[in-house]
Subunit: 359 residues, 2 copies
C-alpha cells in the first residue's frame, strides 16, 4: 500500500472514525457524523483538485481537456456494483467500481477523466472494511488516471445492502475524429478478444460456493483505457465492448444486433484458462457467457487488424489477444459459432440469470 497516501491503517490516535467500529445510521444523516466520514475518509483518500469544492455539485473546467474552438464530445456512463462477496481473489467491489466505469468510457474510445461515487452503506458494516475498499478505489483511480470528483453517502438498515453497494458514473472526452460505437461493424471486419474469457465470474463464484482449485482463479479486473489508447494509435477500430455480464456471447449478440450484421466465430479460438474450463464443467456453465472485468471484444477493418493486434500484445492487458471471428453478410443480427467438433450452432443471448451479483 502506498505509504504517502492516507491510509485507514495508518490513522493515529485519536483515530477520527474509530469511535464507531461500524457504520451506524447517523453516518448517512447529513450531520456531524457524516461530515466526519467525508473529512477523515473520503476526502483524504480521493484527494484531487476538484473534490475539495464541497458544493452540491463539482465544477469542472473543460478548457484544459478540449482544444478550443472545438467544444468537444463527452462520453457519460453509469454503473452500480453489488458484487457478493465484497472481496474476492484478484479484486474487490471498490476496484471493480472504478474499473467498470473507466472501461465503459474507454469502449467509446473516450479518455476517462472524472468519476462520481455513490455509496449505499449498510448499518453494521465494519469501518475498516469501508476504509480498505475506499483506499483500494483511490489506488484504482491512480492506476486508471481518473479522479473521483463528487460523491454521496447513504446508510440503510442492517440487512438492506449486503454490506455496501457502490454506484460510479464517469465522464470522458472522445478525441476528435474517433467514432467507435456498437453499430459500426461491417461485413469483412474481424473480431478480436483481448484475452482469456470467464475469469472474473468464476473467481467470484468459486469463493461463493467454496470451490478450490490447484491454481487459484483470479478476477481479471483491470482498467482498459490504456490498452484502448494503444489500439487506437495503431489503427482504425469500429466497435469495442468490455465483456462483462453475459460474457462474450452477450457482447457478440449486442454488436450483431446494433450493426444489423452477422457474426461468425471459432469456438476453438477463444482463449479460456484450463481451470476456468474445469470449473465451468463442474458448475454447468458456458465460459463464453461468464462475466469478465478486464477483457474487451473489438471489431475492426481487416486491414488494420495486424497492427492493432500487435499493439495489443505488447500491452499488459492484451498479451493473449487473438482473432476469433469475422463479420459476415449472412444472418444479420445473429451469431454463429463454428464448434470444436466441426459443426455450427446459433449462439443466442442467454435468457436470464447465470451468475447473480458478480459485479
Amino acid at each position: 500500500m502506498d505509504k504517502e497516501k492516507p491510509n485507514i491503517l495508518g490513522w493515529t490516535c485519536p483515530r477520527p472514525l474509530m469511535n464507531y467500529p461500524t457504520i451506524v445510521m447517523g453516518h448517512g444523516a447529513g450531520g456531524k457524523m457524516m461530515a466526519d466520514l467525508i473529512e477523515h475518509l473520503f476526502v483524504p483518500a480521493f484527494h484531487n483538485p476538484w473534490l475539495g469544492q464541497m458544493g452540491d455539485s463539482t465544477s469542472l473546467d473543460l478548457s484544459t481537456l478540449f482544444q478550443p474552438p472545438s467544444a468537444g464530445q463527452l462520453a457519460f456512463t453509469t454503473d452500480s456494483f453489488v458484487v457478493s462477496p465484497l472481496f474476492f481473489p484478484g479484486g474487490n467491489i471498490g476496484e471493480l467500481a472504478v474499473y467498470g466505469t473507466v472501461n465503459d468510457l474507454a469502449m467509446r474510445g473516450a479518455n476517462p477523466h472524472f468519476l462520481s461515487a455513490g455509496f449505499i452503506l449498510e448499518e453494521g458494516l465494519p469501518m475498516e472494511t469501508l476504509g480498505n475498499i475506499v483506499i483500494s478505489m483511490a489506488a484504482a483511480c491512480r492506476k486508471a488516471g481518473v479522479s473521483i470528483v463528487t460523491a454521496d453517502t447513504k446508510v440503510v438498515q442492517k440487512g438492506s445492502a449486503g454490506g455496501l453497494f457502490i454506484n460510479t458514473s464517469g465522464i470522458g472526452v472522445i478525441p476528435e475524429g474517433v467514432d467507435i460505437g456498437p453499430a459500426n461493424a461491417r461485413p469483412g471486419d474481424l473480431v478480436l478478444v483481448s484475452g482469456t474469457m470467464g475469469d472474473h465470474g468464476i473467481a467470484v463464484m468459486s469463493v461463493r460456493v467454496g470451490l478450490s482449485f490447484e491454481t487459484e482463479i483470479r478476477s481479471d479486473s483491470a482498467p482498459l483505457n490504456g490498452l484502448v489508447e494503444s489500439m487506437r494509435s495503431a489503427g482504425e477500430i469500429h466497435c469495442l465492448r468490455d465483456a462483462t455480464r453475459g460474457g462474450l456471447v452477450a457482447v457478440l449478440n449486442e454488436l450483431a444486433a446494433a450493426s444489423s450484421a452477422g457474426i461468425e466465430f471459432e469456438e476453438s479460438s477463444v482463449p479460456v484458462r484450463p481451470e476456468v474450463t474445469a470449473a465451468c464443467e463442474m458448475l454447468g456453465f458456458d465460459p463464453l457467457s461468464i462475466a469478465n472485468e478486464g477483457k474487451l471484444v473489438a471489431i475492426l477493418p481487416r486491414e488494420s487488424t495486424e497492427a492493432v493486434l500487435a499493439a495489443m500484445r505488447t500491452h499488459e492487458y492484451g498479451t493473449n489477444a487473438v482473432i476469433i471471428g469475422r463479420v459476415v453478410n449472412d444472418h444479420p443480427g445473429r451469431v454463429i459459432a463454428n464448434t470444436v467438433i466441426g459443426g455450427k450452432r446459433v449462439v443466442d443471448l442467454p435468457a436470464g440469470e447465470l451468475l447473480p451479483r458478480i459485479c
Copy 2:
C-alpha cells in the same frame, strides 16, 4: 398522465414484460430478460436523442451547449436515493431521484442537462411498481428539462434493497461569469430561504409512523433550476444550497464553515407550516433540522436582495421566500439563532441520525 408518452398502464397484449409480474434475478443478468426491460420500459419511458446509442457510454456533443471558443465549465454531481416508503404524499423515489440531482446542479448556478440513472432492484419488486416509478421519473425529467442519457440495472436478492434504490448523477453547464459556491458568503450578505421548512421529512415520516393530520403534509419535492435561473437574472448570488438532509441547520453550518464567516438568523422568521410544527412537537424533532426536497437557502449581497426576493416570489417554488438572517464578522464558522423568546443560541450541526431514509 401524458397520453402521448409510453405508459406501463397502456401496454397492450402481449404485454412485453408481464410474463414476469415481479422483478426476478434474471432481469439483471445481462441477457434477454434484461434487454426486454431496457427495450420495453426504460428506453420508451426516457426516450431522447441520446439514450438510443446503446453503447457502454453515451456520447454527448457539447457544441450545442457551449458557444465556442469557450470550452466552458461543467457541473457534475451524484446522489443515491433509498427513501422508504417508495411512495409518499407529494412524491415518490423516482421523482426525488430526478429533482435531487437537478437541484444539486442548480445550486452551483448550472443549467442541468444530462442525467444517468442506476437502478438497484430487489427481486420480487412488482413490475408495475417499477413501471410507475420509471414513468414518474420520465415526467420529472420533462418538468425539469433534463434527459436521462445513460442507465444501468442490477438485481439483488429479496430483502436486500427495500424494493429499489436509485442513483442519479448529473451534468450541467455553468454559464460564463457565474460563480456561486459555498465559500462565497461575505459579512454583510443576507440569508434567504425559498419557503417553508421541514415538509419533505415530515411527509415521509408521517407515512412511516402512521401519523395523520387534518391537513395532509405533502413533500415539497420540486425541481429548483427554474427558480435559480430567475434569481440569477435578477441579481448577484453568492451561495445556494438546497436544504436536504440535516435541513436548514446543516446548510447554514456548512456555508458558515466553507466561507469562514458567522451566520445569524431569526428563528421567528423561518417559515414552517403549522401542521409540520405540530408533527415535530409530537415526534420531538426540530423542523429546522428536517430535510426538504424543494427548498433552497441563498446568501447574497444586500444590494441585490430586493430584486432577487421579488423574482423568487413570482416563481411557483418561491412564493414564500423570505429573509431570515445575515452573514456577520463575529464567530466565523458558527451559526447563532435569535430565539423566539428573545435569547441567542448556538445552532450546531446535528450529530447523527434524525430521520433515516427520507431521501
